[in-house]
């Protein structure tokens, strides 16, 4: 079985991402999409907590699996899906069996009115950017996309600390400055694609570890093709650090809003943590 291997970014980061992320997703889009259907509980809870009338951005929407949420009150909020892969958007546009709003764009773009959205989510996306500066910029774009007075942002990235149930074996390096800790890593994660477009029997299996790799199907005789996607796997604390750097870059005060502050723009980390091989952070913007 294919393994996760260390990655070396040997090109201009934008050209590198085109080759090792965007082109791969365009090629595996259909199969990838058929394996992504179950929402993460914290993300579902976040979307269920939004008031009616809110509009949001799903930056890196993939096959659009979060666009239909919350399922218990459809149409009470609208999430606009943005992705770099045109082929994944073909799935996202009809996610959940209804017509969705999707936009072909880059997470480093700024193609909306500043602060136009009430919320933004970015799930399993920022880890595909090839430098710390580009990952920070992506967080800046999310913070800028939402309302300065009430905008909420939820970000998920893959963690270097993997769930015991995950089949992925990740090469790790100890953190020299902090004994016992490990640092984030640049890696290639394989995707095995069987070159047959027929019915995908294996794709609807419930899996213990989500985001795990599909196994080659036994019925297929043709040699499966393996694609290698670039990931930066985040270490503990790295995502929160990125949010802090992005906030500084935008001159936002970091921390909860207190009554002493006036004429100030700020951002507060509401929750952050690790869930099943992912790091997540939820932030809220405030204006005084």
């Amino acid at each position: 079985m294919s393994k996760v291997t260390p990655a070396v970014i040997d090109d201009d980061p934008s050209a590198y991402e085109t080759k090792h992320v965007h082109e791969v997703y365009d090629q595996i889009a259909s199969h990838f999409s058929s394996t992504r259907y179950k929402p993460w509980p914290i993300i579902a809870a976040f979307l269920a907590s939004l008031p009616p009338g809110w509009v949001g951005l799903d930056s890196g929407t993939g096959n659009g699996k979060y666009l239909p949420l919350p399922l218990e009150r459809p149409g009470s909020v609208w999430t606009i899906g943005l992705d770099r892969s045109r082929n994944l958007l073909d799935a996202a546009r009809n996610a959940g069996g209804a017509v969705r709003e999707v936009v072909w764009g880059d997470v480093l773009g700024n193609g909306w009115r500043i602060g136009a959205f009430d919320y933004a989510i970015s799930i399993a996306t920022i880890h595909h950017l090839a430098t710390p500066a580009r990952r920070r910029e992506a967080v800046e774009r999310l913070l800028q996309s939402v309302s300065p007075s009430h905008g909420r942002v939820l970000i998920y990235v893959w963690a270097i600390e993997q769930d015991a149930l995950s089949k992925r074996q990740i090469p790790t390096t100890p953190d020299a400055s902090s004994p016992g800790a490990i640092v984030g890593e640049d890696v290639y994660v394989p995707w095995v694609l069987n070159p047959q477009p027929g019915p995908q029997k294996t794709s609807r299996r419930r899996k213990a570890a989500t985001e795990s790799e599909p196994e080659p199907s036994h019925e297929v005789q043709i040699e499966p093709q393996t694609f290698h996607r670039y990931y930066h796997m985040f270490a503990e604390g790295e995502l929160d650090g990125l949010v802090n750097e992005a906030a500084k870059q935008l001159r936002l005060v970091i921390g909860p809003h207190t009554s002493a502050q006036r004429h100030t723009l700020g951002v507060e980390i509401v929750q952050s943590g690790w869930e099943r091989s992912n790091h997540y952070v939820e932030v809220k913007r405030w204006q005084a």
Partner: protein
Amino acid sequence: MVRLITHNLLACHVKGCTSNNFPLKLQDVQIALREAEFNEDFLRGFIPRLEWGALVQAAREVGDDSLPAEVPEMLDDEFLKQLHHVLLEIHIDEGSMVCPNCKHVYPISSGIPNMLLAEHEIG
């Protein structure tokens, strides 16, 4: 898909194009009308977030002049139904969106707007 709900959020993001970059002008559009489920709670919540003038203008550009120039004080059923239709039932399948400031053209193809810029065009 691109409907006027999304158009109301999009703006030009070419490097240096930071004023008069909204709303993007809709041109050479092919539209289709598709019924969508009416959700009054959504509409009432969303109205204060809309750029109303931009919505009225965009609706005219796609051939619908049913909206009043200002948001009415009384949000009655008839108005909400009309707003629902304009925001969520008019689909722009083909066409383009042009920045009023720098004239950059964002194409719409098979209902999907292309907001990608070349690396050197990003601000």
